[in-house]
């Protein structure tokens, strides 16, 4: 298959995948309690369906989607709801947010999986609602509700290509790799579901070329499945080839329009983990309650992949991996390029968590002495979206956010390539994240001030109108009065005239 090359990227990024790939996926035990932040996907937070004290089963829906872009949440084990309150969430802000906590009873009682009819009999709409009900969101990164992505019925777009993202381009992370190695058949089954749902002409499953054994496993599964429209491809190992836009470009040579989505060019791209979740939901009737997470880094004793119940506190995962080593320095959720550091390990994993990296001092640099930008342009040649990070940086640093926006700040995918190659060690991505979020706030304020202006002007209009009305009313009243007085004056004049006739010497005043 012909492949294309996107701009820049980092071919030489250290890998560190082996630490965690040689062990099979282990199923992590049920923790003492599970915590579910109500917002663990893009869109509106879910609304709790349970009260404190309620008993719930594994697979039971405990929070429901609110609005279109949202996803329900299901309990991952049986137990009682212990509180519904703010809890630390895995988020770079370090904020707490409303969450449901469940005290597990260790019995792990499960809601009987609803037996499913053959998916080929189901309409696309049925499948979409099934996937939505299963609480499936993108497990590859953004946690965007998958049902919406798949629901192309309502839209006029035709999907012809389904891309299965198994690239896993970030260092350290290997959950998709293990998943593909061990459960390739099920993933391919999921692909069939999606193909049926979307009516796409072909499916491409992309894997980086540095894991040939996995490719072999998947190739075998594809062959076995014997569906000619499914294709497994090896793509060059260049970070961030797993980024949706870069993957689309690599595989099809097309570009996702800025501000658009792949569906605009007839493509849907889905992470292989998500596909597995779809298979679980559609074929086996299980909602999304667990996912595979890589626990790795020099800070854990036994790095490996775990199948983890969503909601499990990180500390439990570390215990499964035989605890911290003396080198544990930093706790990172996600990979070393895109992840974020957490303050403590009582934070639960959520649907989007694909990796827990317990980094040692030399694995995670922190104290970089930033030098001034020397305009070497290395960042620009590394940027996979062909931005000019140095210019973005000058504008962000000096708070000229509109200018940064003008040179396409919002197209930055925050991949971190520029940051890593910068000889001046400038925290570029952090500048961009700041600028993007500040810009968002600015836009919001602008929006508010526009509303305020409209309302103010509307009110002014109303007031003047009211005033005018009042004036009009009083004018009418006065006019009535005036009419009266006019009549009076006329009468008076007549009288006077009459009087004059009688007495001509009397002049008028």
């Amino acid at each position: 298959m012909k492949l294309w090359r996107f701009n820049g990227g980092l071919p030489s990024l250290a890998e560190h995948k082996n630490e965690s790939t040689h062990l099979p996926i282990e199923i992590a035990p049920v923790p003492n309690h599970l915590v579910y932040p109500l917002r663990q996907h893009i869109g509106n937070a879910a609304t709790a369906l349970v009260k404190v004290g309620d008993y719930v089963l594994r697979g039971q829906k405990i929070a429901d989607a609110q609005g279109l872009i949202s996803a329900p949440i299901h309990a991952a084990s049986s137990g009682t709801v212990s509180q519904i309150a703010d809890h630390l969430i895995p988020h770079p802000s370090g904020f707490s947010a409303p969450s449901i906590s469940i005290k597990t009873d260790g019995l792990d009682k499960e809601l009987a999986p609803s037996s499913q009819p053959d998916f080929r009999q189901l309409s696309a709409a049925d499948l979409v609602s099934l996937i939505r009900e299963a609480g499936i969101v993108g497990l590859g990164g953004a946690a965007f509700p998958t049902a919406i992505k798949l629901d192309n019925q309502s839209k006029s777009r035709r999907i012809d290509t389904l891309i299965l993202n198994g690239a896993e381009c970030e260092p350290y992370i290997s959950c998709d790799d293990r998943l593909l190695k061990e459960r390739a058949d099920k993933v391919i089954e999921g692909v069939n579901v999606l193909l049926h749902l979307l009516g796409a002409k072909r499916a491409i499953l992309a894997i980086e070329d540095n894991v040939p054994s996995t490719f072999k496993a998947i190739q075998t599964a594809v062959d076995k499945n014997n569906n000619p429209v499914i294709n497994a491809v090896q793509i060059p190992t260049i970070y961030p080839t797993g980024g949706e836009k870069q993957l689309v470009q690599t595989l099809t040579g097309k570009e996702v329009p800025s501000g658009g989505i792949p569906a605009d060019i007839g493509i849907v791209s889905i992470n292989v983990g998500t596909v597995y979740a779809v298979q679980q939901a559609v074929i086996e009737g299980k909602p999304l309650t667990s996912r595979i997470i890589t626990v790795t880094g020099e800070g854990v004793t036994t790095p490996r992949n775990l199948e983890v119940r969503i909601g499990t506190p990180i500390s439990t995962l570390i215990d499964v991996c035989n605890g911290y080593t003396q080198y544990a320095e930093r706790l990172i959720m996600g990979g070393p390029m895109m992840g974020f550091a957490l303050m403590n390990d009582e934070i639960p994993v959520v649907k989007a968590s694909n990796c827990i990296l317990v980094a040692s001092k030399h694995e995670a640099v922190t104290e970089k002495q930033a030098m001034p930008c020397i305009r070497c342009g290395l960042c620009a040649s590394a940027c996979p979206v062909s931005l000019l990070p140095q210019q973005l940086y000058w504008f962000s640093r000096s708070e000229q956010l509109e200018k940064a926006e003008k040179i396409n700040l919002l197209d930055c995918i925050e991949c971190g390539c520029c940051d890593v190659v910068c000889p001046s060690h400038i925290p570029l991505v952090q500048h961009f994240r700041y600028a993007k979020s500040a810009l968002k706030v600015q836009h919001h304020e602008k929006h508010l001030s526009n509303i305020a202006r409209e309302r103010f002007e509307a009110r002014e209009d109303r007031l003047t109108k009211e005033k005018a009305e009042r004036a009009e009313k009083s004018r009418i009243k006065k006019a009535a009065l005036k009419e009266k007085s006019a009549k009076e004056t006329i009468d008076a004049a007549i009288n006077r005239a009459k009087a004059k006739k009688q007495n001509p010497t009397e002049g008028e005043g």
């Binding site: 917002r39 988020h91 770079p92 802000s93 904020f95 947010a97 002495q369 930033a370 030098m371 001034p372 640093r397 708070e399 400038i426 925290p427 952090q430 500048h431 994240r433 700041y434 993007k436 979020s437 500040a438 968002k440 706030v441 919001h444 304020e445 508010l448 001030s449 526009n450 509303i451 305020a452 202006r453 309302r455 103010f456 509307a458 009110r459």
Partner: protein, 182 residues
Amino acid sequence: MSFLILIVLFAGLGIILGYAAIRFKVEGDPIVDQIDKLLPQTQCGQCSFPGCRPYAQAIASGEADINQCPPGGEAGIAALADLLGVEAKPLNADNGEETPKLVAVIDENTCIGCKLCIQACPVDAILGAPKQMHTVIAAECTGCELCLPPCPVECITMEPVVKTLALWTWEKPENATQKETS
């Protein structure tokens, strides 16, 4: 005496100019709109003008300085300076100081439904009918505090806007080389 010709010429030019001034007279001033766009539309009157637009007009006509709007703060002044091509200057302390954004909250138990605050609110952000308790539509309240003085029972308080996750901003990396020294 040939220079008399020049004088006549100049007088002629004067007449032409006088004519041009009248013939090409222009009304309206788009700059006011541009200035108004940069003001925060809090409509609080702290600038000593009755609302943002009057202040914009005052700036355009040179009657007011650009540093009189506390809600706009330094950023607002910088934007105005940029638009008008003048030097930015610090906020005029006489007009107040830049404060974090607030919203009005009516203590619904104390509110007597007098409607006075509704009349005061420049953006119609307060809802209520006579003799019923009133509420503030938080999303539309600009935090101008104009509703505070009229309330006879002092049931309105100003509270800081809660920082939501959606409006959370990443911290800006501090640049070691940016520290200001002279």
